[in-house]
Every structure is written in structure tokens, then in C-alpha cells.
């Protein structure tokens, strides 16, 4: 069973390369364009991993993260924050809220892929 990845980001020019990278690794990819849609998608699909941006309309990434971590049914969902908000305080916040990884933009494609792979393998 291939892993399912949900990308939640409103910037199309970010979604495209990330999607490309994930598909190349052989994962299934779903996309949501804002926080609200993202949360819904998580609940509906229970992806193995969510690549989550912060600055989004409707709900921002931190709010989504909080909601996911508050829900025991979603405890197996891995969350990787991928965001331009890269200050130390913000990274700390993400980790405190329960993110499994936090990668600031601009990001290294290698680092992104490697982190995704290790998060997904850890489960097994």
C-alpha cells in the first residue's frame, strides 16, 4: 500500500513542485487549497502524512495542526510544516503544537524528500 500524502497550501507555484516530488517517490498525493478544505480532507481521507503550510486563507496551518492533534482519531497522521514563517519562535510553536517536522521555505528538495521518507518509514 502506497502512502497517501496530503498537501495543504494555497500557493500553486509551491504545490506543483512538491506534488511532483512526492509522486516521483511513489506516494499518492491529494491537494487542498486552504486550511478549512485541508482539515476536511484530513478527516475524510486520513492521510499518512500532511504537508502543511501556515499562511493560508480561512484557517491557518497552526489552527489546522491544533485541530488535528486534538482529535484522537487522527493521532496516526504525521504532520510536516512547510512554511515561509521560519523564525525560531514559530518553529518552536509548531513543534509544541504537535508537528512531527518543521521545514522553512525556501527548502531543499532533498531535505524535504528525506524527511517525508523517514516520517513514513517510522510508522512501520
Amino acid at each position: 500500500m502506497s502512502k497517501r500524502i496530503l498537501i495543504v497550501d494555497d500557493e500553486p507555484h509551491i504545490v506543483i513542485p512538491v506534488e511532483f516530488l512526492m509522486r516521483r517517490e511513489g506516494y499518492e498525493v491529494a491537494i487542498a487549497r486552504d486550511g478549512e478544505a485541508g482539515l476536511e480532507a484530513i478527516r475524510a481521507q486520513s492521510p499518512d502524512l500532511v504537508i502543511l503550510d501556515v499562511m493560508m486563507p480561512k484557517l491557518n496551518g497552526f489552527q489546522v495542526l491544533e485541530a488535528v492533534r486534538a482529535d484522537p482519531a487522527l493521532s496516526s497522521v504525521r504532520v510536516l510544516m512547510l512554511t515561509a514563517k521560519g523564525r525560531e519562535a514559530e518553529m518552536k510553536k509548531g513543534v509544541e503544537l504537535g508537528a512531527d517536522a518543521y521545514i522553512p521555505k525556501p527548502f531543499s528538495t532533498h531535505e524535504l524528500v528525506a524527511t517525508v521518507r523517514s516520517l513514513l518509514e517510522a510508522e512501520d
Binding site: 507555484h13 509551491i14 499562511m55 493560508m56 515561509a84 527548502f107
Partner: protein, 907 residues
């Protein structure tokens, strides 16, 4: 028939009543329930001014010279207006420094000088003892006259009763007893004698009542009203001078009024009741009008009684002085006559009691004690000399009364006694310059006061006292008629050729002139020293709060137990300890020994002693047990200066602290604003970095993908490269905008202003955005006004604004059906350009914030609308040209952006 036993009996009964009243009042005072705490009592006590001279003598004067008796009462009435400030100052200072008499007041003020106190006492005794004699004489005479009832017979001047049968002696001794009993209960003479004051007030009422009774009797009973009496008077040519309202020489009137005005404060008995005995300074107010009212009432019937007397008795048979008594006798009213006698007794005894207390305090404190202290070289030999001091004071009382009696016996009917009233006034008037200057002038010195008093007194002796002796036959009258050694210019009652003046006015002129001139000139010879300056400040500034400066004016060391021992010596152990215990309590100290031996305590000790032995002596005593550092004049001045500077500073401080509060409030507000701006800056920074990072991330991701994967299919590769390029453009656009905005906001932008036609700008911008519109499938319409639209602007920048607006419109119009309208119209002094599209429009709430680079829509982390910086930049540009730019609401929906620019030339 009124027998001697009856008169004597009634008199004794009356005096007994006085004793009882005084005793009761003192008892109540000791219990703390004072009976004299009423302002009316104070005003009545001031009426001790009216003695037997008033009671009997004013009718006598009226009978001789009509209204000539009035000035003596006019003066005090007028001066009552000034009491407010002068008397108040004197009262305050006297209470603060426990001043016991006029001599103490003057001595304390001018360097705490014993010499000065002694001189004042001497003058007072010489001036006032004959006045006491006058009272005794009045009692004796009225007794003798009354005894002759129903016949009205004047006492035979030659026939004097023997010593042991002399009423005057008996009365004198009785009064001595009263005064000792009620006037020397404590050694602290600055304490009030409530019993005595109650008795005096009562006597004032009695004498007023008696006089009014006779007056009413005359008007209503003897005659049918005043007009009836007047009518009868007119029939007698003799009485013309009484009836005319001519007031004689104005100079005399003025002179005597002035003299009386001074005397009402300077007489020792007046100072005693007005200043030393006052219970509460608030009583002064009522006295201001009550005392003049009393004077009015007691003088109301003087003229009617005088007229009645002259009408009733054949000319010359009866002394006018005795009319008050002899009229009721003549009309066979023994009860009234007895009442009048008692009234006269009241008037006389009141004066004697108070005057004696005042004089004896001065004699013991300012005359005897200093010489004793000199003999003991500062410290008394015995442990407790309070009893000794009391003994001295009581002895002084007896001595003064006996002196008065002696003078009365010796002077008899002599001129000297009869005219003594005004002569006494003139003597005490010599205190006036020093007293008044004490509270208004800081420049007086000890030598000046001494010189003034000595000069004034000498002139008084020469122009009034000696002539009175000559007129009584005690001295040869030559020098009076022709001047000493025949020098006419030095005639005692016509000095330097000033002839024809009333002798009193003449004396007043010369003695006061000499007094004042000597006082001022000698004072000017040197600056006031430290002690005088300190006291000057205390006296002159008595009405201002200045406690602290006074305390600061003492430096030195003292031992507490020595101070207490000193106090015990003079006040007795019980009273001294009680006073210090009270001080300790008020300073929050547990017991006496722990009192700090500082300026306050020493000051307290000195003040405490002043009440017993006078200020000058107290100073000497305290100085002998403390090591005082004599303050130099400079230091005193500095301290006083400092005190007043401190007052000024504290006022300044108050003002400054108020200003400071205001400034702080302003600062707080500014700080809040700064914090807000800071926060906004942070928000801006984070949005900018976010805006930069996103395209950077995209660029990096695509670059890495393209680099790492050579197998990417061509179509996709092209797509990726396209996005890469476009993101690069986006990034550099953003960077340029940020830099541009920074330049514009900081004022570092360069402008090339020229006059140009808006139409050309519009045309240019439409051209450069035409591709955008074409791609979107939108149509652009222009509605431009006629003629040139000239404005003053930077062409490139203005184009930038138009392009921004058009690009926004192009971005938001719906694809395929986009409509953009550009309008150019003229308004009031401006050209207005409008760019309207048919896109989604701007929500009403966001209309004002659309130009803010800090705009955050509701909800955290949402992306800002639009490109973010285009509109803020446009605003900077338009506002730099003096115009304005805004967004408008439109009913048809779609955004409408407008800007205005001022004409550079009329269209």
C-alpha cells in the same frame, strides 16, 4: 437716710459677690469648663477702659465744655477698625512667646533686653500710679457725698478723714487682697486669669447699667423726654456752651482722639485684657463692634445728665463730676443713688485690679527679677524659687496699691490729680512707636527703642508732668511762665514758640516726635543683630505660618535634665514636670528623659519660663544651662532667607510636578503609539519576508528538480522553467516595490517634476497594459474630458500609478467579460481620474484599508488582498504631488479607484 453701715454693708456685699464670681469662674476653668469662652465677655472686659473717670468725669467735662468729652471715646471707636491686623499680630506673637506684659513685649522684640523692659516698667508705673490714686479718690468722695443724703454737700477738701477711717485705704487693702487671690494663683503670668476676667466683665455691665439708669431717670422722670429738657435748658443763658454743637478747636479734637486711640492699646490694663487674657483670637471680631457699641451706650446720656445737673443745682454749688450721684440724691431716690455708687465702685475697682496685676507683673519680671538675677550671677541659689517669685509679685501688688493710696493722700485736691487722666494717657503713648514698629518694621534695634522711649518720656516729663506739679504748687511756677532760665523758647507748654495749644496736644506733638525721630535715627546706626532679626521675623510675620524657621534659628547643646531642673526651680516641680510630660507626649516620646535635647525642646523650655519670669530673663536662664552657638547675623539671615526660599521652591516644585505629570501622560501616549508602530513594522517585516520567501522557495524547488532529474519530459520541463522565470520576475518585482516604497516613505526618492498632460499619461499606461487586458479578454473604455489636463508631476511616477491601477483592474475583472472604464473629469481646482472595473469589488469594510501596507484582513494569517504594495506606493506618489487617492463604493459592484491632482493651469 443712708447710713454709713448701709453703704459699707452694700459695698462689702458687692465685693463679696465679685469674689464669689471670680472663685466660681476659676473653679470652672480648672475643671476645663470655661465660662469666659464667649466673645461678648472679651468685649466687656475691654470696657475696663471706662473707669471712674468716665463714670463721674465725663459729665464733669461735658458740663464745662459741651462735647469736649467725646474725643476720648471717639479715638478708640475709630481705631477698632484697625484692630484686626495689629492686635491679631500682637495676640499671636504674645501667645507663641508667652508674653506677660507690655514691657515683656517690647523687651522680647528688641533683643530680649532687660534694660528696655525696666525702662518701660518705670514709665508705666510713673504714669499709671496717679491714675490708680484717682480711682481711690473717686471712691472716697462718692462715699462721703452719699453719706450726706438727703443733703447734697460737697466734701470739704481740707477735712481729710484719719487714716484708719479712710474708706480709700480700706478699699485699697481689699483690692490688694482680691488681686492677690485671683491674679496670682499661678506663677505663670501668661496664663489667663479667668476668675478675674469674669469679675471685670460683670463690673462693666454693672457700671453701664447704673449710668443708663441715671440717664433714663433724668430723661423720663425728671423731665418729659429730651425735648422738654432741651427747652428748659435753652431758657438758661448759662447753658449755651453745652447746647452748641461747636467742638472747639479741631486740633484738640484730633489730638485727643489720637491719644485715646493709642491709649486704648498701650495702657497696661488694656494690654492685659486685650492680649494677655484673650481666650480665643476669634473673639477679636466681635469686639471690633461690640466695644464701640459699649462706648456709645455709656456716653449716650452724658450731655442730658450734665444739663440736668446744671438745671437742678445752683451754679457752682455742686461739682459737675458728682452729678451722676447727686441728681438721684436731689430727687430723693436713695435706691438709685446707692446703685450709682456701686456703679462708680465697679468702674474704679475694675481699673485698679487689672492695672495692678499688669504693673506688678512688670515690676516683678522686668524690674526686680533682672537685678536679682544679676546679683545671683545667672543662677538662683535656692532649688525652688517659684515661691519666692510669687511672693515678689504679691509684694509688688501691695506696694503699688499703697503707692496709689499715698499719692492720693498727698495730692488731695491738687490739680495734679484731677488732670491725671490725660497725663497718664500721654505717658503710655510713648510705648506706641516701639510697639507698632515691633510688628511692622524689621529695622528697629534695642538702642533705638531705648532712645525713643527715653526721649519721649523726657519730653513728657518736661511738658506735662512738671507743669502739673507747678500748677499744683509743688514746684515754683517760674519756669512754666517764662521758660527755664528765662528762655522763652523752652517754655514747657509752648516749646519753640508753639503757643496756644491745648497742653495735652502740645505734649503729644513734641514727645511723640522726639520719640519717633530718636527711635528711627538710633536704630539706623547699626543693623539689627541676630536676636533682633530673629524676633523681628517672629513678630512681623506673626500672621504667616513660619514655625520651622523659628526653630531652625537655634543651635547648640543642652541636657534634658538640666532644662527640667531649671523649669522646676521657677515653676515648681509639679507644674514643670506636667508641662514636659505634655511636650513628650506631643512629640511621641515615652518619657521626659528621652526627649531629644534639640532646638524644639529648648525653645519650649524658654517659652515655658517666659510665662513666669519674662522673655528676657527666660533667655538668660536657658542660655546658662545650654551651650548655645551664637548665630551670627548672616546665619540668621541665611536661615530666614532659606525659609522664604523654601516656601518659593515648594511652590515652584508643585508647579513643576504638575507639569511633569502632564508631560508623563504625553510620554505614555507617545510610547503607546510607538509600540503600535513597532508592532506594525514587525507585521510588515513578516509579511514582506513571507512574500519574498514564497517565490524564492518556488524558484529553488524548481531549480533543484530540473537539476536533479534530467529525465523530465520536455513539456513538463518547459512548464517548470516558465514558472521559474515568472517567479523570478515576481520576486524582483516585489524587491523593487519594497525598495521603492522605502525610498518614497523615507523621502529619498528623486522626482523630476514637469508640467504634463494627464491624457498623455493615461494613453501611455493603457498602451503598456494592453497586453494584460488582451490576455484577460477585457475591454478598456475611456471617457476623457475635453482639452488638456495639465498637472505638475513626475511623468514616470504618474505612469507607475496608472499602470498599477490598470493592472489591478486587469487582475480582478472576470475573464472574458472584463470591462474597465477610465474617466477623466475636472473638479474644483483638480483633475479627477477614475478607474472602474466590473470585478468582485472591494468590501465596504476594506475600503479605507486597501491602501495600507499593514492591512491584515480579519482572521489570522490570511493573505493580504492584491499585490500588497502597489496601492501604498501609488498613494505615496499621488500625495507627493499634492493630490489624494481613494477607493469608492459602487452600487453595481466592482472596484472603483480614484485620484485627484491639482491643476497646474486653468483648463
Amino acid at each position: 437716710m443712708i447710713g454709713a453701715p448701709l453703704i459699707v454693708g452694700v459695698s462689702f456685699a458687692y465685693l463679696g459677690l465679685l469674689f464669689a464670681l471670680a472663685y466660681w469662674a476659676d473653679r470652672r476653668a480648672d475643671q476645663g469648663r470655661s465660662v469666659i469662652g464667649h466673645p461678648t465677655i472679651y468685649a466687656l472686659s475691654l470696657a475696663v477702659y471706662c473707669t471712674a473717670w468716665t463714670f463721674y468725669g465725663s459729665v464733669g467735662r461735658a458740663a464745662a465744655s459741651g462735647f469736649g468729652f467725646l474725643p476720648i471715646y471717639l479715638g478708640p471707636t475709630l481705631v477698632a477698625l484697625l484692630w484686626g491686623s495689629v492686635l491679631l499680630k500682637m495676640v499671636r506673637v504674645s501667645k507663641a512667646q508667652r508674653i506677660t506684659s507690655i514691657a515683656d513685649f517690647i523687651a522680647s522684640r528688641y533683643g530680649k533686653s532687660h534694660l528696655l523692659g525696666g525702662l518701660v516698667t518705670l514709665i508705666a508705673v510713673i504714669g499709671v500710679v496717679p491714675y490708680i490714686a484717682l480711682q481711690l479718690k473717686a471712691i472716697s468722695r462718692s462715699f462721703t457725698i452719699l453719706l450726706g443724703y438727703p443733703e447734697v454737700v460737697m466734701p470739704d477738701p481740707a477735712g481729710e478723714p484719719p487714716l484708719w477711717g479712710d474708706t480709700a485705704l480700706v478699699v485699697a487693702l481689699l483690692l490688694a487682697a482680691f488681686t492677690i487671690l485671683f491674679g496670682t494663683r499661678h506663677l505663670d503670668a501668661s496664663e489667663r486669669h479667668e476668675g478675674m476676667v469674669a469679675a471685670i466683665a460683670f463690673e462693666s455691665l454693672v457700671k453701664l447699667a447704673a449710668f443708663l439708669a441715671v440717664g433714663l431717670f433724668v430723661i423720663l422722670y425728671v423731665y418729659d423726654g429730651f425735648s422738654d429738657e432741651l427747652a428748659r435748658a435753652r431758657e438758661v443763658p448759662d447753658l449755651q456752651p453745652l447746647l452748641s454743637t461747636s467742638v472747639g478747636s479741631y486740633g484738640d479734637w484730633f489730638g485727643i482722639s489720637f491719644l485715646a486711640a493709642l491709649a486704648v492699646l498701650m495702657l497696661p490694663r488694656q494690654f492685659q485684657v486685650a492680649v494677655v487674657e484673650i481666650a480665643d483670637e476669634r473673639h477679636l471680631e466681635r469686639a471690633l463692634w461690640l466695644f464701640p457699641l459699649y462706648l456709645l451706650l455709656i456716653n449716650l446720656f452724658v450731655v442730658p445728665i450734665a444739663i440736668a445737673g446744671k438745671l437742678t443745682f445752683p451754679a457752682g454749688a455742686v461739682d459737675a463730676d458728682s452729678f451722676v450721684l447727686t441728681i438721684p440724691m436731689a430727687y430723693e431716690e436713695p435706691g438709685l443713688a446707692l446703685f450709682v455708687f456701686i456703679g462708680g465702685l465697679s468702674a474704679a475697682t475694675g481699673m485698679v485690679i487689672v492695672e495692678t496685676i499688669a504693673l506688678s507683673t512688670m515690676v516683678s519680671n522686668d524690674l526686680l527679677l533682672p537685678s536679682l538675677l544679676a546679683r545671683w550671677r545667672g543662677l538662683p541659689p535656692e532649688a525652688d524659687i517659684s515661691r519666692l517669685l510669687l511672693l515678689i509679685r504679691r509684694g509688688a501688688i501691695v506696694a503699688i496699691l499703697l503707692l496709689g493710696y499715698l499719692y492720693y493722700r498727698l495730692a488731695g485736691e491738687a490739680y495734679a490729680l484731677v488732670s491725671i487722666g490725660l497725663i497718664s494717657f500721654a505717658a503710655v503713648a510713648q510705648f506706641a512707636p516701639a510697639m507698632i514698629a515691633a510688628v511692622y518694621w524689621r529695622g528697629g534695634t534695642r538702642e533705638g527703642a531705648l532712645a525713643g522711649l527715653a526721649a519721649g518720656f523726657s519730653v513728657w516729663v518736661y511738658t506735662l508732668l512738671l507743669p502739673s506739679f507747678a500748677k499744683s504748687g509743688w514746684l515754683p511756677g517760674d519756669f512754666l511762665e517764662h521758660g527755664p532760665f528765662g528762655i522763652a523758647l523752652l517754655k514747657p507748654q509752648a516749646l519753640l514758640g508753639v503757643e496756644g495749644w491745648n497742653e495735652t496736644t502740645h505734649c503729644l506733638l513734641w514727645s511723640l516726635s522726639a520719640n519717633v525721630v530718636a527711635f528711627v535715627l538710633v536704630s539706623a546706626l547699626r543693623e539689627p543683630n541676630a536676636e533682633e532679626t530673629a524676633q523681628a521675623s517672629a513678630f512681623v510675620d506673626a500672621l504667616k505660618p513660619q514655625r520651622s524657621a523659628h526653630l531652625a534659628l537655634w543651635r547648640g547643646r543642652a541636657e534634658i535634665d538640666e532644662l527640667i531642673a531649671l523649669a522646676e526651680r521657677f515653676l515648681g516641680p509639679a507644674r514643670a514636670r506636667a508641662a514636659f510630660v505634655e511636650l513628650a507626649r506631643s512629640r511621641g516620646v515615652e518619657d521626659l528623659e528621652r526627649l531629644p535635647p534639640d532646638a524644639e525642646t529648648v525653645q519650649f523650655a524658654e517659652t515655658l519660663l517666659s510665662g513666669a519670669i519674662g522673655g528676657a530673663s527666660a533667655r538668660v536662664m536657658v542660655a546658662s544651662v545650654t551651650e548655645e552657638e551664637a548665630l551670627g547675623l548672616d546665619e540668621v539671615l541665611d536661615i530666614l532667607d532659606e525659609a522664604s526660599q523654601i516656601r518659593d521652591y515648594s511652590r515652584e516644585l508643585e508647579r513643576k510636578s504638575r507639569e511633569l505629570e502632564e508631560a508623563t501622560a504625553e510620554l505614555k501616549a507617545a510610547n503607546l503609539r510607538l509600540q503600535e508602530l513597532d508592532r506594525m513594522k514587525d507585521d510588515f517585516m513578516s509579511s514582506v519576508t513571507h512574500e519574498l520567501r514564497t517565490p524564492l522557495a518556488s524558484i529553488r524547488a524548481f531549480s533543484e528538480i530540473l537539476r536533479d532529474d534530467p529525465e523530465i519530459e520536455l513539456g513538463e520541463r518547459k512548464r517548470f522553467l516558465g514558472i521559474l522565470v515568472s517567479e523570478t520576475e515576481r520576486l524582483s518585482r516585489l524587491v523593487n516595490q519594497v525598495l521603492d516604497l522605502a525610498k518614497l516613505e523615507s523621502g529619498h526618492a528623486e522626482w523630476q517634476m514637469e508640467e504634463l498632460d494627464l491624457k498623455s499619461v493615461i494613453e501611455q499606461s493603457v498602451t503598456s497594459t494592453s497586453q494584460l487586458f488582451h490576455d484577460k479578454g477585457a475591454a478598456v473604455f475611456q471617457a476623457l474630458a475635453e482639452g488638456e489636463a495639465r498637472v505638475l508631476a513626475d511623468r514616470d511616477r504618474l505612469v507607475q500609478v496608472m499602470v498599477n491601477l490598470l493592472a489591478n483592474a486587469a487582475k480582478y475583472v472576470p475573464a472574458g467579460e472584463g470591462r474597465v472604464e477610465i474617466r477623466l473629469e475636472s473638479g474644483a481646482g483638480v483633475w479627477r481620474v477614475t478607474v472602474a472595473d466590473n470585478g468582485p469589488g472591494i468590501p465596504a469594510d476594506d475600503l479605507p484599508i486597501v491602501f495600507e501596507k499593514f492591512r491584515q484582513s480579519a482572521g489570522n494569517g490570511e493573505k493580504p488582498i492584491g499585490t500588497g504594495l502597489g496601492l501604498p506606493i501609488s498613494r505615496e506618489i499621488i500625495e507627493h504631488f499634492g493630490g489624494r487617492i481613494w477607493a469608492e463604493d459602487r452600487p453595481e459592484k466592482g472596484a472603483t479607484l480614484c485620484f485627484e491632482l491639482p491643476w497646474s493651469a486653468r483648463p
